[in-house]
């Protein structure tokens, strides 16, 4: 593994659209970029057995997740000619309609940005030790499982 600094991807609470706008703005000085790809995960108000999901409470094994994300980041940068990659995942309680995941990749041409973004999203869901507890409007809960 390289000696690059391990970046934190976690922050408490929902990801705000203004944070995303700010992140996009910061790339206007990188004039070698031609394409940006973004994926955002939003908490759904699913109905399960007649109960509505009010929020998802996210917890993680943070140190393991950050190590794993670091590995994924290195592999993706080796695989695709990317200019940048930014990942943010919420912890704590995120209400239905709010954003809990933000993946942002940029490259000179569109294809690497798009392919890397998709691959990172898949790997985050499959490989990072993060758990979502779906909290229903009546305060009962069930644990989400990625399929």
């Amino acid at each position: 593994m390289s000696d690059k600094k391990i970046k934190n991807i976690f922050s408490k609470g929902a990801i705000s659209p203004l944070f995303i706008a700010d992140s996009i703005s910061k790339h206007s000085s990188k004039t070698n970029i031609g394409g940006h790809s973004i994926f955002m995960g939003q908490v759904r108000k699913d109905e399960i057995d007649g109960k509505l999901v009010a929020a998802i409470e996210y917890t993680a094994y943070e140190e393991l997740a950050l190590n794993k994300m670091h590995e994924i980041r290195e592999e993706i940068f080796n695989k695709y000619p990317l200019s940048c990659m930014h990942i943010h995942h919420s912890l704590g309680t995120i209400k239905a309609g709010e954003l809990c995941l933000f993946v942002f990749t940029s490259s000179a041409h569109r294809k690497p940005a798009i392919d890397a973004c998709t691959e990172v999203v898949e790997r985050i869901k499959a490989e990072l030790p993060i758990w979502g507890k779906e909290i229903f409007e009546n305060d009962t809960h069930q644990w989400k499982e990625n399929i």
């Binding site: 094994y61 140190e63 393991l64 990072l128 758990w131 979502g132």
Partner: protein
């Protein structure tokens, strides 16, 4: 030897963080048998172990003061 057990997600609802003294358990495969006997609810669900912050892919030997995490299927994103 003594190991520390931490747990996450739905598993944390029935296995709280704790120190466990082990005898006759030397690797992660034997630990799984031990845990599933001590916490029968674990036997019915899918889970992975991490040893000292590394996901256990195949059996690993245990040492005194190791930290074992018990993790149900991931559901981030």
């Amino acid at each position: 030897m003594e190991i520390e057990v931490i747990s996450f997600g739905k598993i944390a609802e029935f296995i709280p963080q704790q120190k466990i003294s082990l005898s006759n358990v030397s690797n992660t495969d034997e630990l799984k048998v031990y845990l599933e006997k001590d916490f029968p609810a674990l036997a019915g669900i899918k889970y992975k172990l991490a040893l000292n912050k590394n996901i256990v892919q195949s059996t690993l030997n245990l040492n005194n003061n190791d930290v074992i995490a018990i993790m149900p299927p991931f559901s981030g994103g």
